[in-house]
């Protein structure tokens, strides 16, 4: 034991003070009473952290019309009729509206129609002034009396005989070693950006859609302790405004601006090959695929034609983006673009792994309990797999439901804190700080670079290069095949097996970057093996397999799950059947 230690015990231990984690804390206090000890470990500062930190101008999940079942039907349709966890989406849809009302009461400005009802954006969205979305979300946890530890980076979960005892990590400011135990543990950290090469280089390499500091820690930590994982054969390829990679729902759903090609065709409406796939309301992956097809067939650049949108709404466009992506407004000002006169160029961005947006990645969970295949470990938000389209509002709701389930578990099982072997803790401590300790032994070139080591940035660039070239990055228009995957596997595994021992970091900030790379490499491993296992193309646009270009319902109309074996470094794959709860045609929206 070298470093000062901080020991924390909590009834409810929450890893990640984000959208799900904060509402889980709030719900736990409402239902668990005053004596319940709730702890949140947060990597940054809870009021401004995570993918909500820049704000958002709409909530993409709200039952404006129809029923929760209709929302399930829409989500299923939007994921190409593919298997989704209908039980989980339904449970979220049943409480999402009341959850939005809670946040409105906390101060979130929701736009209203003259009749006083929320201003809808399409069927399932409501418009908000959401630049303070994160502080408002955090205040739910703060007022619930959760004990919040800011700037603690969690590195590993602790699995003791099939039960998760808690986690360890390091203080980003104080450099202490944190050991936290929970009677129930909620992993609610974000998804994973930055596996593939970003479109902007050097000082613009983080000008990407998804939050670049979400480095897949939730997925990697689950994988490493043997949680059953799902949905890494899928990734989100976001269609976004070119260069700033800002969201486009504001243009497409909010203004009704169609995508057009260089010929001026609103191709989703006009070209029969896309009309038959659903036209402008085709599933999200299909629209990404269509954009790529148009560009590959030399009909680019692709624009969103704001001139054909609702003029009243186009006029307020800059304001709407200031609530969410102010960079785009300055970008327009610096590039002589007037969004009500000029079409807005869009492009397919680097893929992200998410569970709560249009993605399927995460841990497999038992029923609607949110418990993973390891006892005591619950997941919500982006860490929960196979239940897409929860977005922000659904993730608030999903956090609440996770808390209810955890309280039920505590009541029913009466779990006691698990004893952790002191030798294991020493080993975990050494492991957590390894790159920092290694740096201390380095000597340096005249330019300051370590002679005996490799920096996290260098490793990240290599990883992104491998994934971009061999695992279907944007430069390959998201196409992969067995031959490419074989190369990706070889190179990524080489990094995982014998390069990480050279990783060195000079300070605690860089130690975060080091753990980001370690985690991302584990997510790469999941992605490569899952994509390889799904020998079909179920989500064209997201994952295009050139060797298996069609849907294979006979073999793959199911979830693909994996459990990693640390002894062999191989995954044990299983197929989980898809259960259709909401009746009806899977390839049609019910309303």
């Amino acid at each position: 034991m070298v470093r000062e230690r901080v020991y924390i015990d909590a009834d409810l231990l929450i890893i990640g003070g984000g959208t799900a984690g904060c509402l889980a804390a709030w719900e736990a206090r409402q239902r668990g009473g005053e004596d319940l000890k709730i702890v949140i470990l947060e990597k940054a500062f809870i009021r401004n952290s995570g993918c909500l930190s820049a704000g958002m101008n709409a909530l993409n999940m709200y039952i404006n019309q129809g029923t929760p079942e209709d929302y399930v039907s829409y989500t299923r349709y939007d994921m190409c009729g593919a298997p989704i966890r209908e039980d989980i989406i339904l449970s979220v849809a049943e409480v999402v509206n009341e959850t939005v009302a809670l946040l409105e009461a906390e101060g979130l400005p929701i736009k209203k129609k003259p009749n006083g009802r929320y201003l809808n954006r399409g069927k399932w969205n409501v418009e908000i002034n959401g630049s303070l979305l994160k502080p408002i979300t955090a205040s739910m946890a703060i007022q619930a009396g959760a004990e919040i530890y800011n700037r603690v980076y969690v590195t590993e979960l602790m699995n003791i005989d099939g039960k998760v005892a808690g986690c360890v990590g390091f203080g980003v400011r104080d450099g202490k070693f944190y050991i936290a135990r929970g009677k129930a543990v909620l992993l609610a950290a974000g998804g994973c950006a930055g596996l593939w090469r970003p479109r902007g280089h050097d000082d613009a390499h983080h000008r990407i859609w998804y939050f670049p500091f979400n480095a897949g820690g939730a997925y990697a930590m689950c994988k490493r302790v043997g949680v059953k994982m799902v949905g890494f054969d899928h990734r989100l390829v976001p269609v976004r405004t070119k260069d700033t990679y800002s969201p486009t729902g504001t243009l497409a759903i909010g203004m009704g601006a169609p995508m057009i090609n260089a010929l001026g065709e609103a191709f989703m409406h006009e070209r029969p090959e896309y009309v038959k796939l659903g036209g402008h309301t085709a599933p999200t992956p299909t629209r990404a695929w269509a954009l790529c097809q148009e560009t590959l067939n030399h009909r680019g650049p692709i624009m969103m034609d704001t001139r054909r949108g609702d003029p009243e709404r186009v006029a307020g466009l800059k304001g709407q983006y200031l609530d969410m992506s102010p960079a785009l407004v300055l970008y327009w000002g610096c590039n002589d673009i007037n969004p009500s006169m000029d079409p807005i160029e869009i492009d397919a961005a680097d893929p992200s792994l998410v569970g709560s947006h249009a993605g399927l990645s995460g841990a497999w969970t038992i029923g609607t309990s949110r418990m993973t295949t390891l006892e005591r470990l619950f997941v919500s938000g982006d860490a929960l797999g196979a239940a897409p389209s929860r977005f922000i509002s659904g993730t608030w709701a999903c956090g609440r439901l996770a808390a209810r389930s955890m309280l039920y578990y505590i009541e029913r099982v009466d779990p006691q804190y698990l004893e952790i072997n002191p030798d294991d803790l020493d080993r975990l401590e050494a492991h957590t700080f390894e790159p920092l300790d290694r740096y201390q032994k380095c000597t340096f070139y005249t330019n300051g670079k370590p002679i005996e080591g490799v920096t996290p940035e260098e490793m990240e660039w290599r990883m992104q290069y491998i994934m971009e070239e061999y695992c279907g990055g944007r430069s390959h228009w998201f196409h992969v095949s067995e031959s490419y995957l074989t190369l990706a596997r070889k190179l990524i595994n080489r990094m995982r097996h014998d390069q990480l021992k050279y990783l060195v970091t000079k300070d605690l900030h860089d130690l975060q970057l080091a753990w980001d790379v370690i985690n991302r490499l584990d997510v790469c491993h999941l992605v490569i093996e899952h994509i390889d296992y799904r020998k079909e193309t179920r989500y064209p646009g997201y994952v295009n397999r050139t060797d298996y270009p069609n849907v294979d319902n006979e073999n793959f109309d199911c979830f693909i799950t994996s459990v990693w074996d640390p002894e062999t470094d191989e995954f044990h794959f299983e197929k989980e059947p898809y259960v259709q709860i909401v009746p009806g045609d899977r390839n049609k929206e019910s309303i």
Partner: protein
């Protein structure tokens, strides 16, 4: 849109345990340069442009600037944070000024910045 700190305006948030920009940055990028006691972004390329540092600076010492690879010079976007709204001033490359008042928190409907 990485944050650039104007040295004449930044006082390193004297009296605070750490500068407010350092406290809020979700990427742990803002830090105090001990030698001059002023804030600095340790790696502008790692910034995601959430603008929390710019909005939270009590002396408006932080200017956000787009990467030149994606935008011409000079343009500015300046937020002025009120209790229930934020007033944005956009000055484009040609000096044209636009102002936007965006609501941030419910209540106090008549507030004007």
């Amino acid at each position: 849109m990485p944050p650039m700190v104007i040295p004449e305006k930044c006082d390193g948030c004297q009296g605070e345990p750490e500068p407010l920009c350092e406290q809020v940055c979700p990427g742990d990028l803002m830090m105090l340069d001990q030698s001059v006691n002023k804030a600095v972004c340790r790696n502008v390329g790692d910034c995601w442009d959430c603008m929390n540092c710019t909005k939270s600076c009590p002396r408006q010492a932080i200017q956000t600037r787009l990467q030149y690879q994606s935008a011409f010079f000079p343009g500015k976007l300046i937020p002025l944070v009120g209790t229930h709204s934020v007033t944005w001033t956009l000055i484009d490359c040609h000096g044209n000024v636009e102002r936007f008042v965006m609501k941030t928190l419910a209540g106090d409907e008549d507030e004007e910045e």
